[in-house]
């Protein structure tokens, strides 16, 4: 059965605290941090972008899979912060992996869920026999407009899932998507920063799609929350996924392992995939995982996964687990943050 053959996550080293951003704008950092459920966010350095994140995560995924990169038949990079408006990130990632030239590659965009859309595309191509392996990457250096609510949460990171049929560490038993036209968050052509619809981003956007996708998957697979050992939801902040889990009937302990946003911020296309990577770091054979991504615009992809015995074999997990890797960090102040994120006009 089609499943995950290798996975990798990458989070940049620098962090800026929510309290530090609030200090600059004369706001109450404690209250904002509490409200968002975020303490600090990961910041890409001057020489990093969604392409460099994608390469780092993909190299880890391919290494853990132990495959020849030339066997990758499709590579999709999901991002809403592409370094080029026109020129695929996917070709640069493919070249850096040594996967060129016999493959198809493309960039996908669906706000925060383009990475999981790539997983579904790879599943279809692998299942049909078109390709042996497909690599789906979610990677973002999310930007928030200075003094906007998003500035406190928009972080950076990348994650890659190698999809195949052989030696899978987790089988993907089922997937279901729920999609509507919902204008909760957008960025127009040539606009530097995205805009959002404030509170409108919760009920008719995040919760409607995440809950509907999860319930749709439960119906189609005849499962319920108690059948799952872990659940990972898209995590635009630290609060939404907790509320989604509670509404569906998941105990909090089942989502703690995959809830990374409080420590690194919202990594957009990478968020649910980094959460899943953290769960795969500890999951035992036979355990079941629910993953529900969410992308504004809007839609959710839900997946049911079953971990296999392969995961316990030497080298199938990255050397450093996600929760350990994010401990390697350096704090910067707001001035350094706007320098590295090129928010100063002359940069």
């Amino acid at each position: 059965m089609v499943g995950i053959v290798g996975y990798g996550a990458y989070v940049p080293r620098m962090r800026v605290k929510v309290a530090e951003i609030a200090r600059v704008w004369g706001k109450d950092g404690g209250r904002i941090g509490e409200g968002l459920g975020i303490n600090e966010k990961a910041v890409a350095s001057f020489d990093e972008d969604s392409c460099t994140f994608a390469v780092e995560a993909s190299r880890t995924a391919v290494k853990c899979a132990g495959i020849n990169p030339q066997e990758i038949g499709a590579l999709f990079v999901g991002s809403e912060s592409k370094p080029y408006a026109v020129k695929p990130t996917a070709t640069m990632v493919a070249e850096a992996l040594g996967a060129t030239p016999n493959l198809t590659a493309a960039d996908l965009e669906f706000a925060c869920k383009a990475g999981t859309a790539g997983v579904q595309a790879c599943m279809g191509m692998v299942s049909s026999g078109m390709i042996k392996y497909g690599l789906a990457v979610g990677s973002d250096t999310a930007q928030g407009r200075p003094n906007d609510a998003l500035e406190y949460s928009a972080g950076g990171g990348g994650a890659a899932l190698l999809i195949g049929k052989e030696k899978t560490i987790a089988e993907i038993d089922a997937t279901y998507s729920f999609t509507t036209d919902t204008p909760d968050f957008w960025r127009r052509q040539h606009a530097e920063f995205p805009r959002h619809a404030g509170r409108f981003t919760a009920e008719p956007a995040y919760f409607k799609h995440v809950l509907s996708a999860a319930k749709g998957l439960f119906e189609r697979t005849g499962t319920e929350p108690k059948d799952y050992d872990y659940a990972v939801f898209h995590q635009p902040n630290g609060k939404f996924p907790l509320r989604a889990a509670k509404t569906l009937g998941f105990e909090e302990k089942k989502i703690k392992q995959g809830l990374i946003t409080p420590f690194i911020g919202n990594t957009y296309s990478a968020a649910a995939m980094i959460g899943l990577s953290s769960v795969l770091d500890v999951a035992k054979p036979g355990q079941k995982i629910l993953v529900v991504s969410y992308g504004s615009g809007a839609g959710s992809d839900a997946f049911k996964l079953t971990v296999t015995n392969e995961i316990e074999k030497t080298g199938r997990r990255p050397c450093v687990p996600v929760l350990k890797a994010i401990e390697d960090k350096t704090y910067i102040d707001y001035s350094a943050y706007i320098k590295h994120r090129r928010k100063i006009k002359s940069l």
């Binding site: 080293r13 350095s45 001057f46 020489d47 990093e48 972008d49 392409c51 460099t52 390469v55 780092e56 190299r59 370094p83 080029y84 640069m92 070249e95 850096a96 040594g98 350096t330 320098k339 940069l347």
Partner: protein
């Protein structure tokens, strides 16, 4: 740098993956790649070879007066890394706290932006190293 696109493109294989050369006649590795083995000359047989992604700091310095395109990154470190196969590579050091940057420290290759042709030009990606 103006119209660096051909240069960036020609160098992308070695910059992305530390792709160098190996002489099958004498067994010497080279980086960057070579067309002729200086030891074997006509008897040499050069073939492409990926260099090991890890090595030790052979020497380093901190740059305060940067060349064009790197002015906003100062102060930053550059280092000569002696790779596991003995080949030496000149590179920028990133994500490495000052106290960890020492001669002999182990450093590993990472993938970063190296330079870009202004706001609208090509972005050159490639290897840099970080102390582990």
């Amino acid at each position: 740098m103006k119209n660096a696109t051909p240069l960036i493109w020609r160098n992308s294989a070695d910059r992305y993956n530390l792709l160098g050369s190996h002489c099958a006649t004498c067994g010497t590795d080279y980086f960057p790649e070579r067309v002729v083995c200086p030891k074997c000359r006509r008897k040499g047989k050069i073939e492409p070879k990926q260099m090991p992604p890890e090595g030790k700091i052979y020497s380093f310095t901190q740059v305060h007066a940067a060349p064009t395109g790197f002015e906003h990154e100062t102060p930053y470190y550059i280092a000569i890394i002696e790779l596991a196969n003995g080949v030496k590579v000149l590179t920028q050091l990133v994500d490495s706290p000052d106290e960890k940057i020492k001669i002999g420290a182990t450093a590993r290759m990472c993938f970063r932006r190296v330079f870009e042709e202004g706001d609208e030009g090509i972005i050159a990606y490639g290897f840099k190293f970080k102390v582990v």
